[in-house]
Symmetry: C2
Subunit: 121 residues, 2 copies
């Protein structure tokens, strides 16, 4: 009736880089896991904060005026409206927390952009 998930095991569902999968929900926020390698695309989410928690590896979050390096165990909230570009030199596993309304790559659309439906599959 109240299934629990193991965070690391939840990454078994992830087969492609930059393709988040929804693994949980708390109130109106979705928990998603993703494996990252390389860089995504510069984008912003106009109305949604986005939290990154590094489960494995290291992520470099580029902002327009600064860079924040996130190591395993670190978490960071990218505030709504702030342009950012996540870059992983090596494979990195992240937990994301964001509302269902969040567009994967904001207003940018690339061949890496994943719909919510794809993230739920």
């Amino acid at each position: 009736m109240f299934p629990a998930n193991d965070l690391e095991a939840a990454f078994d569902r992830v087969t492609d880089y930059w393709s988040p999968k929804v693994v949980g929900k708390v109130n109106d926020q979705l928990l998603k896991v993703a494996k990252l390698k390389g860089e995504l695309v510069w984008h912003a989410h106009d109305s949604e904060d986005e939290l990154f928690y590094i489960v494995k590896g290291e992520l470099r979050m580029e902002f327009e005026d600064s860079v924040t390096v996130l190591r395993q165990g670190a978490f960071l909230t990218v505030p709504k409206g702030v342009r950012h570009n996540p870059v992983a030199d090596e494979e990195c596993w992240v937990l994301l927390i964001e509302p269902a309304s969040t567009l994967h790559t904001g207003a940018e659309v690339t061949d890496r952009t994943r719909s919510l439906e794809e993230q739920l599959s």
Copy 2:
């Protein structure tokens, strides 16, 4: 400008069992860390889901008709309105995600109940 936190290091602020400290925020949800030992009190949050993620140790979540054992790395959302009682036989470190409106022990008030102000201090 965009400070990151280390999840384990965030527990340095916690000095008492069952006394959560706010360590982050994403949209309208607060991230809190707490060290648990023993049991809290049976309670429910009428309007708020509450997510538990086990950073260290093991937590037994008692429900009225079942029990879920959460080991390190597990996460579980307790849906709004569901009565629950968290029990830790040994010290357990948890990350909680819940809205600022969430009362620590729901409608129950005990000497362990902590206000949001205390959780922010």
